[in-house]
Symmetry: C2
Subunit: 125 residues, 2 copies
DNA sequence: ATATCTGTTATATATTATATATAACAGATA
DNA sequence: TATCTGTTATATATAATATATAACAGATAT
């Protein structure tokens, strides 16, 4: 897979994997219905314990990103519909409060910030 | 102060305090040069241990948000200049990668996302 | 049938992050 | 002298993160 883990990061390994899988879906690098490696395979590839991957897959399942069939394995949810529940919007709103505040004080203009957003969104289709 | 801590949150208390102080500066609720409560006073107000507040103040000092004079106390840095070092831009960029990806997949359009950014930025002066 | 692959569960351990609890110190100030 | 600052030291508790072994049940290929 395309996963790139930074072991020295302050972001937990399981979170890095979740982030990159979700971004992989948005970028189209992971197609809906596509199989993911088995928990043991991915753990082996990355060089981590399989429980960590198992935790990732279960959380992704819980949030609707993947479906798990016992023994056919894990695949990106072919009927992906994780659309914005009010709870998600609230958490996004909360995150942007503090992210924009710090960015502003660090001299990142509104225009520059929006440019960063557009650069990202333009990669999603 | 205006701090509102959620003890059940998955965001650590010290991080919540940092977030709200930085946002307080951006909103103008905290003026440059303004005194902050002493570590013991703020801890008492919130109902937490003073070491937690001490940790916050030291990190804020480390990052340039406040200055600490032994015994005059802690104040918002009157010469605030935390402007964007390359390291910060990189971390912001990394954060936006995953934030925009999930937002996109959850049905938050680029226009809606930008609207959220503008709502926040318009509060800063 | 047997071996091998899946996810799953159980148990145990190690490390780090977060938060608290007490105590004491040194400098400044009233 | 008493009281306020930030600071430091030590100890403890809890939770989050990650690993290590082992075993189980269902599916599949040989």
């Amino acid at each position: 897979m395309f996963l790139q883990i930074e072991f020295e990061s302050d972001i937990p390994i399981y979170q890095q994997i979740k982030n990159q899988i979700i971004r992989g879906i948005a970028l189209g690098e992971l197609k809906l219905g596509e199989d993911l490696p088995s928990v043991r395979q991915l753990a082996s590839d990355i060089g981590i314990n399989f429980h960590t991957v198992n935790k990732v897959y279960n959380q992704l399942k819980q949030e609707g990103w993947v479906v798990i069939h016992r023994k056919s394995g894990v695949m990106i949810n072919p009927d992906l519909n994780v659309y914005n529940n009010k709870q998600y919007i609230e958490s996004l709103d909360e995150l942007l409060k503090f992210t924009t505040a710090e960015a502003y004080l660090r001299g990142v203009t509104k225009e520059k910030f929006i440019e960063l957003i557009e650069e990202n969104y333009n990669k999603y289709f």
